[in-house]
């Protein structure tokens, strides 16, 4: 890269001025059509990422069409009125870039990574597919097959993932979070070109998207290029937000999946509120105390001391648009009983409901969260992702709210949220019961 030397020079100046850790300078712009643009100049390496975040995901799909958001994401690589199929990725790659996309319950993200002298290529390509997608019927049929193969790969032939799918469907009875992002097989088969087209028109518009650029760029310069490519795209219809409220669970639910597998696997889920609910900070700390690193309670007790599970983990899905879950999962060690692992998990839960963690445990969890924020800044991709996640929840500035909230969590608060949410009435338990067929090897 011819610019590299200059870049590394300016880097040193940049450093001296920005000692603060999270204090990246974010420039925020908005076009008249409603498109929001966030740009962070990060000159530490001659690279940049361009990301388009659409505020639509699996939660926004009509009933019977699960997997629509994700299939559309695939179709976004299959040609526009301006560029034929395969042109997108070929253009990116022959300029040394990488492109990809992913779909979640709440949003859909498209991104490219380039050396910084090529990053402007993203602008034309992304503006084009925000408006001009072809959705050729032949390509739709073929890509539907590809997604079905993806489903077989990730779910049908993976017993633990299959159990996750079963448990989500049982945990939520009303909210669309009950559906897998990849879609049920029969729904996938039912998605037609017209479903994709309608969904695209309803959701892929400048007023329903945010562009995030992080890297070795000049913010004002690149913004003016973004403006000239995107300002002509008309606003879409105002977003019809799906409001769905999962009623409070009144009593334990249980799911058993019998499938060919080697070892039993357990999942426990509890409904919880999401960030920025006032309890979310203590739930985050609770999660780290239970399962952050090898010194965490679950690993120490269940894997290390008792040796009854091969792995054990907790997770708290705090960054979701609607209330989601606090959950646990563990693989039962060979020769051990499901019951032993269940009992050990429930004992750990009972303990934290009754007794506040030590001040040191809480401090350790805060240090781990803080450190992961700083380490995450090593990568421009993760940095963009972090701002995107908060932006999808309303505003990237919520990052500060989040970190402030984390710092204020007390041991007492951790015990209280455990008591409030990790209770039997709010529990769904899923168990994978291995069945084994004898097969031969030639």
């Amino acid at each position: 890269m011819r610019t590299a030397r200059i870049v590394f020079f300016s880097l040193f100046i940049f450093l001296c001025l920005h000692a603060a850790v999270y204090a990246a300078v974010i420039k925020e712009y908005r076009l008249e059509n409603g498109l929001k643009v966030l740009i962070i100049e990060e000159h530490k390496a001659p690279v940049a990422t361009f990301q388009v975040w659409y505020r639509t995901g699996a939660r926004d799909e009509p009933a019977g069409k699960s997997g629509l958001s994700h299939l559309l994401e695939h179709m976004m690589f299959k040609g526009t009125t301006k560029y034929g199929p395969s042109v997108f990725s070929n253009t990116v790659q022959k300029n040394g870039g990488t492109d990809n996309a992913y779909t979640t319950k709440d949003y859909t993200v498209y991104f490219e990574l380039f050396s910084s002298d090529r990053i402007a290529l993203s602008i034309d390509l992304e503006a084009d597919r925000m408006r001009n997608l072809l959705l050729e019927p032949k390509e739709v049929l073929s890509e539907r097959q590809v997604v079905m193969e993806e489903r077989r790969l990730r779910y049908e032939d993976d017993p633990q993932s299959s159990l996750f799918e079963e448990v989500a469907a049982a945990t939520f009875k009303v909210h669309p979070y009950r559906r897998p992002v990849i879609g049920w097989m029969s729904d996938l088969g039912a998605i037609e070109r017209t479903d994709l087209y309608d969904y695209y028109n309803a959701n892929y518009s400048p007023n329903n998207a945010v562009i995030i650029i992080v890297g070795d760029v000049n913010a004002d310069e690149i913004f003016s290029k973004v403006r000239s490519s995107f300002e002509h795209i008309p606003s879409g219809p105002p977003k019809k937000s799906i409001v769905s409220v999962e009623p409070a669970q009144r009593g334990e639910k249980r799911v058993v999946l019998q499938k060919e597998a080697e070892l039993p696997f357990i999942i426990l889920t509890y409904h919880t509120p999401s960030f920025p609910h006032e309890d979310s900070y203590a739930l985050d700390i609770l999660n780290v105390i239970l399962s952050g690193g090898k010194s965490s309670r679950l690993y120490q007790s269940i894997v290390y001391e008792k040796k009854i599970a091969l792995d054990v983990s907790a997770d708290y899905g705090s960054f979701n648009r609607d209330p989601y879950l606090f959950y646990f999962y563990a693989t039962v060690a060979p020769g051990k009983e499901i019951k032993e692992v269940e009992d050990a998990l429930y004992a750990e839960i009972a303990k934290i409901r009754k007794e506040a963690p030590s001040a040191r445990e809480v401090q350790k969890a805060k240090n781990q969260i803080e450190s992961s924020f700083i380490m995450g800044q090593d990568s421009i991709y993760l940095q963009a992702m972090k701002y995107g996640i908060f932006e999808m929840l309303g505003d990237w500035r919520l990052i500060d709210t989040y970190l402030d909230g984390i710092r204020l969590v007390t041991p007492q608060a951790v015990m209280e949220v455990a008591g409030k949410y990790l209770k039997e009435d709010n529990l769904t338990e899923g168990i994978l019961l291995p069945i084994k067929k004898v097969k031969r090897e030639e």
């Binding site: 590394f8 790659q93 996309a101 080697e262 090898k294 091969l310 700083i374």
Partner: protein, 446 residues
């Protein structure tokens, strides 16, 4: 919940598959290289943009250095490095590391073991203290050995659920035969049971020596700061003579071998390939270009364009050469519904044959080169990647000027070279084919 459906994320890694840690462009990245009196090679790349320090220690001790009946020794040693030292118990180590929000891990591979530390600058001293403790003072307590052994055996059992694991294991075994590369890094239940505390202590004291290691450090520290922590924590590390290791030959006999594993699955998990090349093979760069076009180039590769985009047969199809100190392997991997296994294989073999018999177009050649050279800057865009990169360049002896030379290595590859290496390293007659599937439904004609 596993809700984020990363459509094609797997594939990003495929783009890096062959050039992985070892590629390039004219990037102004300064690194200093010194050899300490005790024989340790130290690489230091200083940058102060974030208050973090990334450390990679590469020890030339891996699967290649194990006896057959002790397979899994290198991996078990690595896994036990954080599990008890002269100064700390397993629990104390993890407690201290987690308290400062750092990570300290060790893992063994074919040719070497790495110990990596990621730590905030303010905790550098503590981080280095723990890093040196596990490196220099591991005691391999018997209780920890037994615990870790059972964990590894358990995870081997669990992986029997994973068709790609079964396919990969069978493929290695056939391609490499008796050579250590043909075994799982974890060993097997049988070999794990034979490993004693003595074996571990001997392996550790034989190979974990400064004159057998490379220390690569990147991030927010000056050379004075680095020298200070090295003196304080690694000063006592003593050099010693290395044992002579007889290397097994890779037979490389030419034969077609087909392995079918029958399981209750919806998809056939297929690997097809043969022996590949070592990292120091002069054809490495021509092979990089050729493989990019065949199946290494993500969405632009021929295999992806045909098997996924045109035929809709698979979500993922890829090819890669894994190049080690000794000859590695070449493999193509695909997963497709049982019923499509034959069609997918026909197409894959057709694409290999095309690569072997027809010259690639000028446009393809220049696109491949543009990607391989133009993506280099992204291989050094974080401190973590920089630390790993320089350790790897040193290990494979690629030279201090590797970064500036890489573009010319790639750009000098011709269409004739691509055809020549395709003929030389791809084979449509003699290959290892592994198919894990519901065999009744797959009805393989192969």
């Amino acid at each position: 919940m596993k809700s984020e459906k990363f459509k094609r994320l797997v594939l990003i890694s495929l783009l890096y598959a062959i050039v992985c840690l070892l590629s390039v462009n004219a990037l102004a990245l300064e690194t200093t290289r010194t050899i300490t009196p005790n024989g340790l090679t130290v690489l230091h790349s200083e940058n102060h943009n974030l208050p973090i320090v990334m450390v990679t220690l590469l020890v030339k001790a891996g699967q290649r250095h194990e006896a057959k009946e002790k397979a899994g020794l290198a991996n078990l040693s690595a896994k036990l490095l954080g599990e008890g030292t002269k100064n700390r118990s397993s629990r104390e180590i993890s407690e201290e590391i987690d308290f400062i929000g750092a990570s300290l891990d060790a893992s063994a591979g074919n040719d070497f073991t790495t110990i990596t530390l990621s730590v905030l600058k303010k905790d550098l001293d503590k981080g280095f203290e723990l890093f040196s403790d596990i490196l220099l003072n591991t005691t391999f307590p018997q209780a920890e050995i037994d615990r870790k052994r059972e964990e590894i055996k358990g995870s081997l059992r669990q992986q029997e659920e994973d068709p790609s694991f079964l396919a990969g294991r069978a493929f290695k075994k056939e391609v490499f035969g008796k050579h250590p590369y043909g075994r799982l890094i974890q060993g097997s239940t049988d070999t794990l049971d034979t490993i004693t505390q003595d074996d571990l202590v001997t392996f550790y004291s034989d190979f974990f020596l400064p004159n057998n290691a490379i220390l690569s450090v990147a991030g927010d520290l000056t050379s004075d700061e680095l020298n200070a922590v090295m003196k304080k924590y690694l000063g006592v590390w003593k050099k010693a003579d290395l044992p002579l290791i007889p290397y097994g030959d890779i037979a490389g006999e030419k034969a077609k071998k087909i392995i079918k594993i029958d399981k209750e699955l919806t998809q056939a998990n297929i690997i097809l390939g043969n022996l590949g090349i070592s990292r120091d093979n002069p054809d490495y760069y021509a092979v990089s270009v050729m493989n990019y076009l065949l199946g290494g180039g993500g969405f632009s590769s021929r295999l992806m364009q045909s098997v996924r985009d045109k035929m809709g047969l698979a979500y993922d199809v890829h090819s890669f050469f894994s190049a080690y100190k000794e000859r590695g392997s070449f493999q193509i991997g695909v997963q497709t519904k049982n019923e499509s296994a034959n069609v997918a294989l026909d197409e894959i073999l057709r694409q290999i044959e095309r690569m072997r018999s027809e010259m690639v177009s000028d446009e393809e050649l220049s696109d491949a080169k543009a990607y391989l050279t133009g993506s280099f800057s992204r291989r050094l865009d974080t401190s973590r990647k920089i630390a790993d990169f320089f350790a790897s360049v040193e290990f494979y002896g690629l030279g201090a000027d590797y970064i500036s030379k890489y573009p010319s290595f790639i750009n000098s590859v011709t269409k004739e070279d691509v055809l020549r290496v395709a003929k030389k390293y791809l084979d449509t007659e003699h290959y290892v084919l592994v198919v894990v599937a519901n065999q009744e439904k797959a009805m393989l004609k192969y």
